[in-house]
Symmetry: C2
Subunit: 201 residues, 2 copies
């Protein structure tokens, strides 16, 4: 019998297991047994904690998003120079490679968000927070005279997040010419034009 755990610990385990199961089988393809297998438990045990699988899936997506966003904020906080901040943030929004679990998970949301309002709201809220993150960097740089913005900071920030998103898809789909490095360079090309800074560091 699998080691017994406290209610909250087991729920965290299950959220992790669901994350992995979603990545493996797709948000619309996950089954109770997939989650159970990832967690090393039986379906019954999963159901004991989450009588409704779809709730677990939402929590897993939510947790994945939060983790992703928190990670980015944490990296961002280790720099003070707006140029460094911008460059680091661009990189932290891209997958490390085609298998990057965080981005793979987020990508699963894309299609589902058009069908499921809850997923739509989750995805939209992540987007908006990432936009704010970039906006803060851009505004600071602008105030310090380091950046000469070619448009509203909102506009540029929205485009930066959009570019990250899209290259995340390209990389996980294994585009033969676009990997993490190339994607970063492409986004930086825009960032240079938009900030009037060559972003060398």
């Amino acid at each position: 019998m699998a080691q017994r755990k406290s209610r909250s610990d087991r729920r965290l385990d299950l959220i992790e297991a669901a994350r992995r199961a979603i990545i493996r089988h797709g948000i619309d393809g996950v089954q109770l047994s997939h989650v159970a297998e990832e967690a090393g438990l039986t379906s019954g045990a999963v159901l004991y904690h989450y009588p409704d699988l779809s709730e677990l899936l939402v929590e897993a997506q939510h947790a994945g998003m939060e983790r992703f966003y928190e990670q980015r904020l944490r990296q961002l906080a280790t720099f003070t120079d707006p140029v460094e901040k911008l460059v680091v943030t661009i990189r932290s929004g891209l997958p490390t490679g085609p298998l990057d679990p965080d981005v793979r998970l987020l990508n699963e949301l894309g299609g589902a968000a058009g069908r499921n309002r809850v997923y739509g709201v989750l995805l939209t809220s992540l987007y908006d927070r990432q936009v704010s993150m970039y906006q803060a960097i851009l505004d600071t740089g602008s105030a310090l005279g380091v950046f000469r913005l070619s448009a509203d900071s909102v506009t540029i920030a929205r485009n930066l997040v959009a570019l990250e998103d899209a290259y995340g898809y390209r990389i996980t789909a294994r585009h033969p010419l676009i990997g993490p490095e190339e994607a970063a360079e492409l986004i930086l090309s825009y960032a240079r034009a938009a900030t009037g800074n060559d972003l060398a560091h």
Copy 2:
């Protein structure tokens, strides 16, 4: 009994039905019965034409992509001025609204492309063709002296397609502030900076 049709007609019907079913239930959630229902047939009839559902789904995605791309080319062909071409092409890459079926279908590929090589190849080839399309516009405009490109035409073209993709997701996810108009404006903001042309028309 549903009206009988020739082999090839029925296959086209089924591809259309599969398209709708994928949009409704997700690429990993579609079932034989969903396709049958959309086609007004029984599961058995679907299986008679496509013994393997996954093959039908691939054909449906392929057909959807081709249609989307051909439509864009056709619109593009009705203009000669590079500025007009660029503006029209940017608009033709965005969904008409959250329910736009062509974009909804493509969005379903995003997540699946990370798990399924066939979908990855489809998505990548669509991306590359769209990049070429933009590249041709940019190069022509550059040769004519209408555009002063801020970077390689490949780089700009890749970013333009990436932006379209990403705003397609935002719009289908019903972002409250970003609709087709706003997305077009955001992409145009980049296009202006990248071409040195104010793109007024």
